[in-house]
């Protein structure tokens, strides 16, 4: 029983890292209608920015806040200077551009900070507390709580605020949004900026566990995309739930299903996606798009 609970909490903790990245992807998709494959790389860059701010003597919390703010502007600038050129064209072109961006940012990180692993301190103490006979790390709990709070804020942003409504309107139909007086260009920048800031949170949460490397988020991105597909592109709560399910299943399968083990556990989320997409193509929580003419 103890092992089970420990696996469960650890799974939820890794799941919440995927969730943070997945939320950023959903945010960009909600705001611009596009999937950003560079979201993970941008989160790594944010991690390095926080690392450098630590290096110049800022306290940890200051460095994190600084990195989140800087990341907002980096995201907004990337939209304005790069993505804007491809928004009007074929969506597939834009997707390929974000893949290029992934490679570019990874290269930039390696150039400035090298491929060596850099240690990054955690916001939470490295202690464990007993929960139902299992020892659970405070880091895992802290990570889970931070992500749940962010998920709540995002849901509130989209359904409860005028900015959220405007971001969604712009992603659905830019012309209608503009005809209603919405400054489309500025809203697109805000959408990318918010996603980038959210990615920064994911970056600083995962860096203490994995140590900072340019490719730190590569695997997490794959899982985050799995969560996005599973949870539905339109639902913050859905992707967080899906990310949690993926994290837990992956951990449980590795331990309890002998032929999977730690080598094959990466296949678990994909098996899950496969089954879900056959049964519910819109994702577990996504809305079905109905087009009537």
């Amino acid at each position: 029983m103890g092992t089970f609970i420990q696996l469960l909490i650890d799974g939820l903790s890794t799941g919440s890292i995927y969730a943070a990245l997945a939320l950023a992807i959903v945010l960009v998709h909600q705001a611009t209608g596009m999937v950003n494959f560079a979201q993970g790389a941008m989160a790594v860059l944010s991690g390095y920015i926080a690392y450098s701010l630590l290096g110049v003597g800022l306290p940890l919390i200051g460095a994190i806040i600084g990195a989140v703010v800087i990341s907002f502007f980096v995201g907004a600038l990337i939209e304005r200077l790069l993505i804007r050129r491809f928004e009007r064209g074929d969506e597939h072109t834009a997707v390929v551009v974000t893949i290029g961006l992934l490679t570019l940012i990874t290269g930039i990180c390696a150039w400035f900070w090298s491929y060596n692993n850099q240690l990054f301190p955690s916001l939470f103490p490295n202690q464990t507390i007993p929960v139902f006979g299992a020892s659970v790390s405070l880091r895992s709990l802290g990570t889970i709580i931070v992500i749940l709070v962010i998920m709540g804020l995002l849901q509130l942003l989209f359904v409860g605020t005028k900015l959220g409504l405007a971001l969604r309107a712009v992603s659905i139909n830019q012309q209608s949004a503009a005809f209603a007086g919405m400054p489309v260009g500025r809203l697109l920048m805000v959408g990318w900026g918010l996603a980038s800031a959210l990615g920064a949170v994911a970056g600083v949460l995962v860096a203490p566990q994995l140590t900072l490397t340019p490719g730190m988020m590569d695997t997490a991105l794959v899982y985050a995309l799995a969560a996005v597909i599973l949870g539905g592109l339109s639902s913050p709560i859905g992707v967080v739930a899906a990310a949690g399910i993926i994290g837990v299943l992956e951990n449980l399968a590795a331990v309890y299903v002998p032929f999977i083990g730690h080598d094959l556990k990466v296949a678990v989320p994909f098996l899950l996606i496969f089954v879900v997409l056959i049964l519910r193509p819109q994702g577990l929580f996504g809305r079905k798009a109905v087009v009537r003419v």
């Binding site: 409504l165 309107a169 503009a178 005809f179």
Partner: protein, 236 residues
């Protein structure tokens, strides 16, 4: 001084000249039709006014030159555009579509009142207020597009082919509601319409376009009586 005044407006897509001297004016609280065959430049005229296409000549709104402004800046001046194709925000509910229309509004109580008014004007929308825009029928989407434009409390409404693709009885309903909207709100209107009978039921005067040029302007009764207009645009 007219509310909207176009003089010698030109516009082109790539290198094809679509507008080649469009002149018309809409008085405060007035309603003016734009008639013409397919490809005469009716839709492009509206798109030039709201800054969707780059235009030459002079476009003045309330005495101010608005040429070169972005669509959202034009909207902020008080011009609402109901585009051809309706521009429905499919993933948003009917109510959220209306809230999008009210983006520039600041007064919450006023917005709630306006939503109520729209739902009274178009009772079909009241039944679907929680449905996604994409689940509505064509007629309902057209009503939603007009309602969304009204939510911005504009001084001038640009209406592009509101009858396109609708059953004749539905089109008539839509125009009836727009006529009521005009009477009760006093919003000035510039109406592009392929179906001249529907247009004449709403407007006081009209301009006829031929290959991107204004060729004739007059009050509704005069145009209705003219043989050539009838032959060309009224199908008789």
């Amino acid at each position: 001084m007219p509310l909207l005044e176009l003089e010698g407006v030109t516009a082109s897509y790539d290198s094809v000249q679509v507008l080649d001297g469009v002149s018309l004016s809409v008085p405060e609280r007035g309603a003016v039709g734009v008639l013409g065959a397919n490809g005469a430049g009716k839709t492009t005229t509206l798109r030039a006014i709201t800054g969707v296409v780059r235009a030459g000549g002079s476009i003045r709104f309330d005495g101010r030159d608005i040429r070169g402004l972005r669509p959202d800046q034009v909207a902020a001046l008080g011009i609402a555009h109901v585009p051809e194709g309706r521009g429905t925000l499919g993933d948003l509910s009917v109510r959220d579509n209306l809230r999008v229309g009210a983006y520039l509004g600041k007064d919450k109580a006023g917005i709630a009142r306006d939503i109520d008014y729209c739902l009274e004007l178009f009772p079909q929308l009241r039944e679907r207020v929680k449905s996604n825009g994409s689940a509505l029928s064509g007629g309902e989407q057209q009503m939603l597009a007009v309602a969304r434009a009204f939510m911005a409390k504009p001084r001038l409404l640009l209406l592009d082919e509101a009858s396109l693709g609708l059953a004749p009885s539905t089109a008539k309903n839509v125009y009836q509601a727009i006529r009521r909207l005009r009477e009760e709100s006093g919003i000035a209107m510039l109406v592009v319409e392929q179906n001249a009978n529907l247009a004449f039921s709403l407007v006081d005067s009209a301009t006829v376009l031929e290959t991107g040029r204004s060729v004739l302007t007059g009050p509704t009764e005069e145009l209705r009586a003219m043989d050539e207009i009838r032959r060309a645009y009224l199908g008789g």
